[in-house]
Amino acid sequence: MADTSETTTIPITVDFSGGLEMLFDSKRRHSISLPATDGSGKPANIAFLIDHLCRNLMKDPRAELFVLDNHIRPGILVLINDADWELEGEEAYEIQPRDNILFVSTLHGG
């Protein structure tokens, strides 16, 4: 049924908010085609997406403002279709076509 060749991609939108957009060309919404599987043939999950964003979408070399020790840095919430990623399995969530993934940095000012 599904084409599992390496060229298959999943269309998704990725949003950045709370200042994170600065790291991604100052654009708050990106429509991207994510490879459907990672290097080892496993379905693309959030961990793979984060790596993909760092390699392909981030314009700012300050990767440590987005990832720390290969994980999303503290102080960034990840929302999968507007729900906290812990409700969806965090990094292991397998990305579906037309998903919206939002990265938002928590604010402290007032």
Binding site: R29, D60, P61, P74, L77, T106, G110
Partner: protein
């Protein structure tokens, strides 16, 4: 139904008003109250019952700034009976574009007294209690225990974690908001309040459940550095008041017993409202988003199973909030020979004792555009770090960082920023890239930045 015959048999809070929330509705409204609150009392779901609950409620507003001012106005206007306000700062001119509960005539007054002056003019009926101090682990329990609901209108993560922990320990609902530059966030936490350690059901999360760790200090910006749009922070403060009024009018703030069959409410899995304000687009898409958060986390440090957080511990300095959020201190980490005070730099320059040098100003270009030291060259800190990182990865020469191509390899570099932190990091970065040429070139930090310049050299300098 005119008279409130409902009871809350499971109320066991310590605040006197919890009792009042049960019994208070037996009293009549005064004519003044009736006049004043009539337009909100006729709203379906509110009624006299809801109004009496508000009148018998005690709300603590922590922070009398951009969030606290608009929040307090609606809290006072709605007739909350007792309103406590905590803030250790005084009113400054630069506050007034957003902190609309203060006034030009009250610059220099404590924010707490200034705001209460304004609120009394709006509504003289509530009892106002002022705490002209910052909230600390030592005073937090004594203050917060006196109230039914807490509004976090503060501006730093250490105080945010402290407030949340106290609300868990003292069983208080928390309405939390934050805002910087062009973004705002709002969430209702610990509501209905549930005793610490209960995890065998669906309970509302605390701040730590949702925001487990603070961001590293290097990634945080304050309103002072990043700026803030008045309506953005104002909107979040108004929304906070709305949430607080809803909770109190519906008696959702009353702690519930474990055995009680808690009715399904969306508060157990709160909504995080985020607001993004786009100065570049007139009708920004997706400006408001409502995000679904999880409930209480079993493993939460504060409210989870086996939590070791206690009132006594907090008072004694455990956990250490400052360390947890590692608030950068203004302590110098550069040796004295790599630093010069603003006054000494100025004096040496006036006397012609300074050699030809480069003066790097690392503030944002918006700050720089409002005024700078004569001869300064602007390289914003973020851009400088970006460039430095790409040079380290092999992209270009370190001298690309310097604005003046013709500078000799021993031309000294002075670095100035807004308050003296970024400049020290800049000195370190330039040295790491070898721009000190093995010590031949001096790279020097101007201590205290443009703030010290205004204070010690040029009082008319437009420091923001």
């Amino acid at each position: 139904m005119e008279e409130d015959t409902r009871d809350h048999p499971f109320a066991y809070g310590t605040a006197a008003s919890t009792l009042a929330a049960r019994n208070g509705s037996s009293r009549r409204l005064t004519d003044d109250e009736f006049d004043r609150y009539s337009r909100q009392m006729i709203v379906p779901g509110m009624g006299k019952e809801g109004q009496l609950r508000l009148i018998n409620s005690r709300v603590l507003i922590i922070g009398a700034g951009g969030l606290g001012c608009p929040a307090a106005q609606y809290i006072a206007g709605a007739g909350i009976g007792t309103i406590g306000i905590v803030d250790g700062d005084v009113v400054e001119t630069s506050n007034l574009h957003r902190q609309i509960g203060h006034a030009t005539s009250r610059i220099g007054m404590t924010k707490v007294d200034s705001l209460i002056t304004h609120l009394r003019g709006l509504n003289p009926l509530p009892t106002y209690i002022s705490y002209p101090t910052h909230l600390t682990p030592q005073n937090a329990a004594d203050i917060i225990s006196q109230y039914d609901l807490v509004m976090d209108c503060t501006d730093n993560p250490a105080t945010r974690y402290l407030i949340s922990d106290m609300c868990v320990l003292l069983c208080k609902p928390l309405v939390s908001a934050a805002s910087v530059q062009k973004s705002g966030q709002l969430i209702v936490l610990n509501c209905p309040p549930t005793a610490q350690g209960l995890v065998d059901g669906k309970y509302a999360p605390c701040y730590r459940c949702c925001f487990r760790k603070p961001p590293p200090p290097s990634s945080m910006v304050s309103c002072g550095e990043a700026g803030i749009m008045g309506p953005v922070v104002g909107m979040m403060g108004v929304a906070q008041a709305g949430e607080a009024i809803k909770i109190l009018a519906s008696a959702l703030h009353i702690p519930r017993q474990v055995t009680e069959d808690v009715p399904e409410t969306n508060l157990q899995q709160p909504t995080l409202l985020i607001y993004t304000y786009d100065l570049e687009s007139a009708v920004g898409p997706y400006s408001f988003r409502a995000l679904k958060m999880g409930g209480r986390r079993k493993s939460c440090f504060a409210c989870g199973a086996g939590s070791t957080l206690t009132l006594e511990g907090v008072k004694a300095g455990n956990p250490n909030y400052e360390q947890f959020c590692s608030i950068p201190t203004s302590k110098a980490n550069l040796p004295p020979e790599e630093r010069i005070t603003a006054a000494a730099y100025h004096a040496a320059k006036e006397k012609g004792e300074l050699p030809e040098h480069i003066l790097l100003d690392t503030r944002e270009k918006e700050h720089f555009s409002l005024g700078s030291i004569e001869g300064a060259v602007n390289v914003p800190f973020g851009k400088l770090l970006m460039k430095a990182a790409s040079i380290k990865r092999g992209g270009g020469s370190s001298t690309d960082l310097l604005p003046i191509e013709s500078s000799k390899p021993d031309t000294p570099i002075f670095v100035v920023c807004r308050t003296g932190l970024d400049s020290q990091e800049t000195v370190e970065t330039l040295k790491e890239l070898g721009l000190d040429n093995g010590g031949k070139r001096k790279i020097v930090d101007v201590v205290g930045g443009m703030r010290a310049w205004k204070q010690d050299v040029d009082p008319s300098f437009p420091f923001i």
